[in-house]
């Protein structure tokens, strides 16, 4: 049997389930494993997280490698990379899939360097054809789509961008084999002494709908009067162009674009944003884009699925009301 496909499992932040990204990766991993005729294994690293193995079986894993150790209670690069590298050397998986959050970028890049193997971060697709493993990853703000061909060294390490694949569906009654492994003797050189929630954190990368505002809104007062209420009516989050972040209207957390966040929601609404290439870099892969701008020649209309030319102060309140009325929120 060809070598296994592994998925690094993350716990959901607000429940006992596995995280949405892990469900996505298990869905994709299942497909790849079936096509290649191999097994899909969950890699569960943590302390007291053994129950996540059962959850991973329900979402398609055949097997789980579990390292349950107090040293893994908090993410540290040394702890997680040490454990994953030791298991990878022992069991020789073909591919290790993880998410591409900041923590998972920290992990996957260090893991690939530690093992001397190939790496693709922010992958939007992975394929296996015979012995050839490849990954697709955008760079240059989505202006370049790279196909990375992994050489013979295994495992291929792939950190995947969120919302690249549908989440695996839960299947009741599935079970699998649990392989318990002990923590290897690695020195953990960093110590996490405190973890606190970020004030006003906005996880734009997770939002299915994002409404962003820009300089065309005229003032911060206008931004706050128009944009958050529309985002709320849509059940989404609100973002911003670099221009208004730099102008101090709203914190950096909200910035979408080349030096802010890259997002790919189901619906992205750009209000009063002209569409500088740096902004487009952060949102052009959104499924549906709506642009509202009074300048009919604004570049944003070139990527928009739907464009409304006009004054945001007039349009946005009408839109918010219409959505509340019709979409029942």
């Amino acid at each position: 049997m060809p070598n296994e496909i592994w998925v690094l499992i993350e716990k959901a932040r607000h429940s006992d389930n596995i995280a949405a990204i892990s469900r996505e990766l298990l869905g994709k991993g299942r497909q790849l494993a079936d096509a290649a005729g191999t097994q899909l294994a969950a890699l569960v690293l943590g302390s007291g997280m053994g129950a996540l193995a059962e959850r991973a079986f329900a979402y398609g894993a055949d097997k789980a490698y579990v390292v349950d150790d107090a040293a893994l209670a908090q993410y540290t690069t040394d702890g997680f990379v040490g454990a994953a590298a030791a298991l990878a050397k022992k069991y020789q998986p073909a591919l290790i899939l993880s998410g591409a959050s900041f923590q998972m970028r920290d992990f996957s890049a260090a893991l690939a360097a530690e093992l001397g193997v190939g790496l693709a971060i922010d992958a939007t697709n992975v394929t296996i054809e015979g012995e050839q493993i490849s990954a697709v990853r955008p760079s240059h703000g989505g202006n370049v789509i790279n196909t990375i061909a992994f050489g013979a060294a295994r495992p291929a390490v792939v950190a995947a961008r969120k919302q690249s694949w549908p989440e695996a569906q839960e299947q009741a009654g599935r079970s699998g084999e649990v392989v318990q492994e002990s923590m290897p003797g690695v020195e953990i050189r960093t110590k996490v002494t405190n973890v606190s929630p970020k004030q006003g954190a906005v996880n734009l990368a997770d939002a299915a709908i994002i409404v962003s505002g820009g300089r065309g809104l005229g003032s911060p007062e206008n931004y706050f009067k128009l944009i958050p209420p529309l985002a709320e009516a849509l059940g989404g989050a609100y973002g911003a162009s670099r221009a208004i972040v730099d102008a101090g209207w709203i914190p950096y957390e909200h910035q979408v674009g080349q030096t802010g966040k890259t997002v790919s929601p189901k619906l992205y609404m750009a209000v009063g944003i002209s569409g500088a290439i740096q902004h487009l870099a952060g949102m052009r892969t959104s499924r549906t884009i709506v642009a509202i701008n009074k300048d009919a020649d604004a570049p944003i209309f070139r990527v928009a699925s739907y464009g409304l030319v006009g004054d945001a102060s007039e349009i946005v309140p009408l839109l918010t009301e219409e959505i509340k009325k019709r979409a029942g929120r």
Binding site: A112, A113, N143, L267, V290, L308
Partner: protein, 258 residues
């Protein structure tokens, strides 16, 4: 304390083209210091002002990159080093980290390496972690504040600014730290300093100087294409704003976007 800041030159925007040999063509686009690296340079300078010692700005790339190295020198970096070799042209991020690790080992007395959280062209964020592993040093990525940096006890305390939480992390030195945008406000180089560094000799180390032999990358670029064009959109027409808004909501609901 000897701080090395890794700096990369990037195109100001990403409207690049792809050459037939799959290399990136950024012709006609102004080259600037990678924005996140500018924060790393500023952080290095601020700690150097407190602790003394050296701040070396280090870059891997063609000779033209001296321009941005000079900018870092004009901001206040005390030393500079360019790693340049024809064989570096096609290096991937892991290969670049290997070369930079060799240079840092050769410098010998480095306490801290700073870099931006990622470059705005490649966007992977893999350089810092890969460099740390190759040096065998601890890594602290996405740092938004360095609270303590102590040469005597060889200790650093920093805040990592993650998506939804802030982690306070302690580590020993030497270490590799990558920084995010909220860490500081980079200074502008003064005209006086720009003039003063205009003719400073910037040392160049080649692959041979670093004792590096060619090594096939563990993964390579098999194809590079522009993104598929977006389906042509439509400008919603209507007698007034209310009608346009109703039409838009109709369309979004029909296509089950909302």
């Amino acid at each position: 304390m000897h701080i090395v800041v890794c700096m990369k030159q990037v195109p100001r925007d990403n409207s690049v083209k792809i050459n037939p040999d799959l290399s990136i063509n950024a012709e006609g686009i102004e080259q600037i210091m990678n924005l996140f690296d500018e924060y790393a340079v500023e952080e290095g300078l601020q700690w150097n002002e407190k602790l003394g010692g050296k701040v070396t700005v280090l870059s891997l790339g063609p000779e033209e990159w001296k321009e941005q190295i000079r900018r870092a020198l004009a901001m206040g970096a005390t030393d500079a080093l360019l790693l340049s070799d024809p064989s570096f042209a096609g290096l991937d991020v892991l290969g670049a980290a290997r070369a930079v690790a060799a240079a840092i080992n050769k410098l010998g007395d480095v306490d801290l390496v700073l870099a931006g959280r990622n470059s705005t062209d490649d966007e992977s964020g893999a350089f810092g972690p890969a460099l740390a592993r190759m040096l065998g040093w601890p890594q602290l990525t996405y740092v938004g504040k360095i609270a303590e940096l102590d040469e005597g006890s060889k200790r650093i305390v920093a805040e990592r600014h993650l998506e939804e939480q802030i982690e306070t992390v302690e580590s020993r030195l030497p270490a590799v730290v990558t920084v995010v945008k909220d860490i500081n406000e980079p200074r502008y180089p003064s005209l006086l300093r720009i003039k003063r560094v205009a003719k400073v000799e910037i040392p160049i180390w080649s692959a041979a100087d670093l004792g590096l032999s060619a090594q096939a990358p563990a993964a390579s670029i098999a194809a590079r294409v522009p993104p598929p064009p977006r389906a042509k959109g439509e400008i919603i027409q209507g007698a007034d704003a209310a009608e346009k808004v109703r039409t838009l909501v109709d369309k979004l609901m029909e296509s089950q976007v909302i």
